[in-house]
């Protein structure tokens, strides 16, 4: 299609300047209208198929074309619309409906900081996700949650099922071991923050006490604030070869988000409402108790209690009690857009409220957006994006602990014959066999994060110089992302584990306040020059500055007064402050050379400085180069050949990744000893000479299209190496340090990405579009200058990760009777997704299956339930090779002997998204809405409706340690994942 629009340029000029008058025999007149809005569409090309005879529609969509004889086939096409061939049997007026091409948004790919390139000329496999793909099937809870399966090369994984996000997105395998692995998010030119700021639950859970210093609070990652409904398009630069121009922050990839903007014309309104519920994917069930089992696990003293409860029918399924809720979801969106020739606007407001599957958990968000574009004159364009967000999430009290207090760990110790329900006065009984009453914890504990956030971005484009063959443009851009986050973790004193008589501290209140301010400014010059032989040179140069400033206060109070949550109403108060400041400065230059869209080459370099490097004013250079050859433009095939695209491409680029926080310093931390202040090392040795990690990526691929792109394929192979890998290997603890930061290795990822798109069948009433993508990555630690070391999870007894030269970066090892052995690998064998859209008349069915094959988790949930004698499969016998022990006893028997039983295959196949919609036919709309309504669509949708996996817990997609690092698939009594059922109505008018 593109090919036609491009190669027809000369033809079009011909048509405009030399109206066809020769040999006119029959005249076809008509109007081209937009299928979805019914409005006339201007500047659509209408050509007699297979000839040079054609015209274009006028400003109202009307056209007239004279042909030699009838019947005739007219080819109707234009940039941004799907190409259509219509048969015309007779003269007279006809209406041709054209549809906006879904791929229309694919046409342009943002690859530079200031410029974009036509996808057909791009040398990288840049993934694009349109608004339709993002939210069209079913409303996603968060934008990162909508990326599942939409393109090859990413592993998107939910860390927990708690409402309000908490996802990790990893592009093309392992990009860093201690550093950042999450992509950089840029929205309308603004660097947005995606931090996860802990709410201080550790004060109660003591999760980090057992030898694992990592954040297990499971907070929301802040990209969850971004409203998916505002987004026009997302582009994903998956590695350094595409993202080098973003320099020292780009190693983990860049996600470029463009929000919706107004179009000139009639003011358009859109309202949509989605309502539904969420519920747990699967309950594990409880152990089937009898007298003997109770006695074996809990002692003879519990047997009468069990019998009494059983005989009275008072056995309670506490798992269902806690996780069995149906959470109500509502999502309301209203947007207005429009404008005139000079000024255009888009404004949207969204209200989103979701309850979780556990009482007192939920997520609420209000987002307001106003985007303005103004054309001052022929030379100057201004645009503004503004977004205010308020979000509030209640995350419950889950994940690992060392105090038996979280709901998840508490549940493992809760037996069905216990009575945990409050009495008539609301007093909860203490749970005799455990340290917490989970129902009390669920009902009385608060774990809330509230965010108020403003994201503003502005840009100015000035045409400094314009001539027929050359032009110079100046682009100035600035943006700010500012938010305040307040967190409250409140554990009132009446909780079982807070009572001093039970060893508690009489209530804990942890309040956090974070202020985060990122701002960035940049300026670019873009020069275009075309030679007489259609050789185009585009030169750009620019400067960028980024500033990051975060300040967090966390106040922990214990020994609370009455039921006060204020932190001054307490016996003991402690305050933590954490500041993060960074300044980056960079420049870049890039040269693109395009020979008639046949061969497109580009090369450039970015230079970056950062306060986060050992030497703040040293420049680090990140080069890039790429070439693409559009073989189909060389005229090897005839116009009507079934081939319509064959592109070979290759790209190379480098990008950086900063040393993680704290890597540059060896510092003391302040503590007290019964009131005496002191400073102590805390075990990590920094190094002020740490170099940033450097990623070098080479990718090459081929894009093929057949039959007007009704069948197309894109195949990409990449090699991505990371040098100067910053590791935190263990030091001999007798040195006083347990770990240190060093540049000490390299790793390599090889991968292949395949995308297939096809429209196997299409006619006027029925169309089936299908897309399949496949992604496989393998990693290897190619160089390691420190001894192999274990990292992540809870040590070799329970299974841990191990960095070892010549081995996969994500291998899982553990103790076995034969010593330390490899027990698995977190890396999936491959991932596939199958996305289908079937349209029949006004009905539309979308479904997206995602299949992750292989990849192992370390699952400790089962072990914790075993130790408490409550596992659902405690008495089944299918693990013990000798067939003697029940699963519970077997797993416990393996403790300290072998970690093998804790490493489980985390494959899954899911129906990730399903949508079924009906749009009211035009004629019905016309008749009862009198033309006031352009479109009315309603339907049903769902997320995770079918889940197939052989994994002994709620969901193989889980991470106790949140998104950071590559070592994520560790499970300790998580918040279970859920599925969503939604009913949706949308009206455009």
């Amino acid at each position: 299609m593109k090919k036609h629009s491009l190669s027809s340029k000369g033809l079009l000029l011909f048509l405009f300047f030399f109206p066809v008058v020769l040999f006119a025999q029959e005249t076809i007149t008509g109007k081209v209208t937009n299928e979805s809005t019914g409005e006339g569409v201007p500047f659509i090309n209408i050509v007699e198929d297979g000839t040079n005879n054609g015209t274009a529609s006028d400003i109202d969509g009307n056209f007239s074309l004279t042909v030699n004889n009838l019947p005739v086939k007219l080819k109707v096409f234009a940039l941004g619309f799907t190409t259509k061939v219509v048969s015309v049997e007779s003269t007279g007026s006809i209406t041709i409906q054209v549809a906006e091409a879904l791929e229309a948004l694919d046409e342009i790919v943002v690859t530079g900081l200031a410029t974009s390139v036509k996808r057909s000329n791009a040398a990288n496999a840049v993934a694009s996700i349109s608004a339709e793909e993002l939210v069209g099937t079913t409303p996603p809870p968060t934008i990162d949650g909508a990326l599942y399966g939409k393109f090859p090369g990413a592993i998107v994984s939910a860390n927990s099922g708690a409402p309000g996000g908490g996802l990790s997105v990893k592009l093309r395998g392992a990009t860093s071991i201690t550093g950042n692995t999450q992509p950089l998010y840029i929205i309308d030119g603004v660097y947005v923050d995606n931090s996860s700021i802990a709410a201080g639950l550790n004060a109660v859970s003591a999760a980090a006490a057992g030898g694992s210093a990592s954040n297990q609070d499971n907070p929301t990652n802040r990209i969850a604030d971004i409203n998916p409904d505002d987004i026009a398009n997302i582009e994903i630069l998956k590695g350094a070869s595409a993202a080098a121009i973003y320099g020292s922050r780009a190693a983990a990839g860049v996600v470029i988000i463009t929000t919706k903007r107004g179009k000139a014309g009639e003011t358009k309104y859109s309202v949509s409402q989605s309502t539904g519920w969420t519920q747990i994917i699967n309950l594990l069930g409880t152990r089937n108790f009898n007298e003997q089992r109770v006695e074996d696990s809990f002692g003879a003293a519990e047997v009468p209690n069990f019998i009494a409860a059983r005989d009275a029918g008072r056995l309670v399924d506490y798992e269902k009690e806690v996780f069995g809720e149906k959470g109500f979801i509502t999502n309301t969106n209203f947007s207005v857009s429009g404008g005139g020739e000079k000024t255009r606007f888009f404004s949207g407001i969204t209200y989103n409220n979701e309850e979780g599957i556990v009482k007192n958990t939920g997520y609420e968000k209000i987002s307001v957006r106003l985007n303005l574009d103004h054309r001052m004159n022929d030379r100057v364009k201004l645009s503004l994006s503004s977004n205010y967000i308020h979000s509030s999430s209640d995350r419950g009290f889950f994940n690992n602990d060392n105090s038996g207090t979280t709901i998840g760990v508490g549940l493992t110790a809760t037996v069905p014959w216990a009575n945990l329900f409050p009495d008539a006065n609301g007093n909860y009984p203490d749970y005799a066999l455990g340290s917490s009453n989970i129902l009390q914890t669920r009902d009385l504990v608060t774990n809330n994060e509230k965010v108020d956030r403003i994201i503003l971005g502005g840009s100015a484009n000035l045409d400094l110089y314009k001539a027929e063959k050359s032009s110079l443009e100046l682009i100035l851009r600035g943006g700010i992302d500012f938010y305040g986050q307040k967190s409250l973790a409140f554990f009132p004193k009446q909780l079982q584990f807070q009572k001093p008589s039970n060893g508690g501290v009489n209530g804990v209140s942890v309040q956090g306040a974070t202020q985060n301010k990122n701002y960035n400014v940049s300026g670019f010059l873009v020069h275009n020059f075309t030679t007489d032989s259609e050789l185009n040179f585009r030169t750009q140069a620019g400067l960028t500055r980024e500033f990051f400033d975060r300040n967090t206060f966390l106040t922990t109070a214990s020994g609370l007064v009455a039921s006060e949550s204020n932190v001054d109403q307490a016996q003991n108060t402690g305050i933590n402050q954490f500041r993060l400041k960074q300044e980056d400065s960079g420049f870049f230059v890039q040269e693109e050379i395009n020979y008639q869209d046949k061969v497109i080459g580009a090369f450039g370099v970015r230079g970056d400085k950062s306060s986060n490097n050992g030497d703040a004013n040293q420049l680090y250079y990140y080069p890039k180069a790429s070439i693409a050859a559009n073989l189909h433009e060389f005229g090897f095939w005839k116009e009507d050949s079934f081939w319509n695209q064959l592109k070979l491409r290759a790209a190379y680029g480098e990008a950086g990744n900063f040393a993680p926080f704290g890597a540059l310093f060896t510092s003391y931390t302040a503590f007290t000893t019964d009131g005496l202040l002191g400073i102590s090392l805390i075990g990590t040795r920094g190094d002020s000479n740490i170099e940033p990690e450097r990623q070098k990526e080479f990718e090459t691929g081929v894009d093929i299209g057949f039959f007007d792109n009704r069948l197309s394929a894109s195949i990409t192979y990449y090699i991505k190496t990371v040098d100067d890998l910053i590791l935190q290997p263990t030091r001999e603890p007798s040195s006083g340090f347990t770990t240190e930061f060093v540049n000490a290795g390299s790793l390599r990822n090889n991968g292949i990405e395949i995308g297939l798109n096809a429209t196997p069948y299409a006619n006027d009433n029925f169309q089936w579009d299908t897309a399949v993508n496949f992604f496989k990555n393998t990693s290897e630690v190619t160089e390691l200058n420190v001894p192999a070391f274990n990292i992540g999870a809870f040590g070799a007894t329970l299974g841990t990760f191990r960095i070892e030269e010549g081995k996969s970066a994500t291998q899982i090892v553990g103790i076995t009777p034969n010593g330390l052995q490899v027990l698995g690998d977190a890396e999936p064998d491959f991932q596939m997704a199958f996305n289908n859209t079937v349209k029949y008349k006004e009905f539309e069915l979308n479904f997206l299956f995602q299949w992750k094959k292989g990849g192992d988790n370390i699952n400790l949930t089962a072990l914790l339930t075993d130790l408490n004698g409550t596992s659902h499969d405690f008495d089944d016998i299918d693990l013990d090779p000798s067939g003697q022990l029940g699963n519970g006893d077997y797993r416990v028997s393996q403790l300290g002997t072998s970690a093998e039983v804790f490493v489980e295959d985390a494959s899954y196949l899911r129906l990730r998204e399903l949508g079924f919609y009906y749009s009211l036919p035009k004629n019905i709309l016309e008749s009862f809405a009198k033309g006031y309504v352009d479109n009315l669509k309603f339907g049903f949708s769902g997320t995770n409706l079918i889940n197939i996996f052989d994994y002994n817990s709620y969901d193989p997609e889980v991470s106790n340690f949140g998104a950071n690092g590559i070592f994520t698939g560790v499970e300790v009594t998580p918040f279970p994942s859920s599925k969503r059922y939604m009913f949706n109505v949308s009206v455009n008018f």
Partner: protein
């Protein structure tokens, strides 16, 4: 055209010069170690010494759990960490892991205190002129204090790894000394203590810093020296150098007629930047987290022994991982109760031990001090060395219950095989009594 290129060249040349000077930040959140290398002040020294008191308590709970669980003094139940009842007790085929918290965490914490102290020794090295801030006497007593603390921390680690040894020379983290044998390690620790004692003796009458509340009574150079000698006496006993034990004891705070509980202690508070007593659990705690007295402690006791008040009968018995107990370990009654480092009671018992061969009547005098304090009648057993040793060990078992001695004593006197075995698994593997912890994997030995 040309002017455009000029403009771009101008733009590019300005890049490196003006527009992108980046501000360099130091650690925004914490004091850096390098900051103390030059001209340490009195205030700095106070803060640095304060850190020694802090870090000497980090992971102390795990240390005591390690020693007491293997010594069959109490069981540590933890529903979220099963390794206390599996690995430490040698359940079935379980073994001690050289890369798990019970091995690595207390070990690393002790060496961290050593590092904190060694860094201070570097900051106040005699090669530096600090006369503007401190007198030589003040610096000397400070060195004596630091060496004593280093020696004590090293001793705790040697208690864990025993014949596997420890590193003594760890001042330069990039050039660590070798692992030395138990004998060499004990010699090294004792030399450090004696060296420290000399530094204190040669110094002034005041420390140039304030000590934590737990050292009240031992916070002047002369009283701290008594603590130094008490530790030396313990080390000499481990060396079976009994004449030296008596010599060190004579310079310690041993007082046969005095309060047996006297001695420096680790103090705790509930302040958020402090540590609470890690050995406290409320009475009748569930298996989510509890320390349950080993049944033999009550069963083996002499009738009327008041030291049984260290355990409390639970409302109901508790079972976890096939272990059932009826008594809570309750040596510490609150989250802020102090943990003794060394007490007069241990010194009396060391006095008894050191005299068994040379002067058994003194042994009996000392044992009777202990027995009578526990409301038990005076010793009426035999006078043979083996009988006195058995009695001495039994009194140590009850007097120092839960304070980290039983396992070490059983090892010293070669009676680990007398410690009770609680379980035999389905394949006939009994629990094991470990002799020593492995050297942590990360020591790369």
């Amino acid at each position: 055209m040309k002017s455009i290129y000029k403009l771009m060249i101008f733009l590019l040349t300005t890049i490196g010069i003006v527009s992108c000077e980046v501000q360099e930040f130091s650690d925004l959140n914490n004091p850096e170690v390098d900051a103390f290398e030059e001209n340490i002040t009195r205030g700095d020294l106070q803060d640095l010494v304060g850190g020694i008191f802090y870090s000497s308590r980090v992971r102390l709970g795990t240390y005591y759990d390690d020693v007491a669980v293997i010594g069959r003094e109490y069981w540590r139940f933890s529903s979220s960490d099963p390794r206390f009842t599996a690995d430490l007790l040698g359940k079935g085929t379980s073994i001690l892991d050289n890369n798990t918290f019970y091995t690595t965490a207390p070990w690393a914490a002790r060496y961290r205190t050593v590092k904190n102290a060694n860094l201070i020794l570097g900051f106040i090295d005699p090669s530096k002129d600090l006369s503007g801030q401190f007198s030589d006497e003040e610096l000397s007593v400070t060195r004596g204090f630091l060496k004593t603390m280093i020696a004590y921390e090293l001793l705790l680690n040697l208690n864990l790894t025993y014949d596997n040894g420890i590193r003594i020379d760890v001042a330069d983290e990039d050039n660590l000394g070798p692992f030395v044998s138990r004998t060499e390690a004990l010699t090294g620790i004792r030399n450090l203590l004696v060296d420290g004692a000399n530094d204190i003796s040669n110094g002034g009458n005041d420390f140039p810093f304030v000590m934590s509340s737990g050292f009240s009574g031992f916070d002047t150079p002369s009283t701290f020296l008594q603590f130094n000698n008490a530790i030396s006496a313990r080390v000499a006993a481990y060396q079976e150098d009994y004449p030296s034990v008596l010599n060190f004891l004579s310079n310690s705070f041993l007082d046969l007629a005095g309060d047996l509980s006297i001695g420096p202690r680790h103090s705790f508070s509930e302040d958020q930047t402090d540590i609470a007593n890690p050995l406290f659990f409320a009475l009748n705690s569930s298996s989510a987290g509890a320390r349950i007295a080993h049944p033999s402690f009550v069963n083996d006791a002499e009738i009327g022994d008041t030291r049984l008040d260290k355990v409390v009968l639970r409302n109901s018995s508790i079972t976890f991982d096939d272990l059932t107990g009826e008594y809570d370990f309750f040596l510490y009654d609150s989250r802020v109760a102090p943990i003794p480092i060394i007490r007069n009671e241990e010194l009396v018992l060391l006095y008894a031990e050191a005299n068994i061969m040379a002067n058994p009547s003194e042994t009996i005098i000392a044992l009777d001090v202990i027995r009578n304090a526990a409301s038990l009648p005076s010793y009426s057993g035999g006078m043979m060395a083996s009988e006195l040793t058995t009695e001495m060990l039994n009194q140590r078992r009850y007097s120092l219950y839960g304070e980290g001695h039983r396992w070490i004593d059983a090892r010293r006197f070669n009676i680990l095989d007398q410690l009770p075995i609680d379980r035999i698994d389905d394949e006939g593997n009994p629990d094991d009594v470990w002799i020593e912890f492995p050297i942590p994997l990360t020591e790369n030995q």
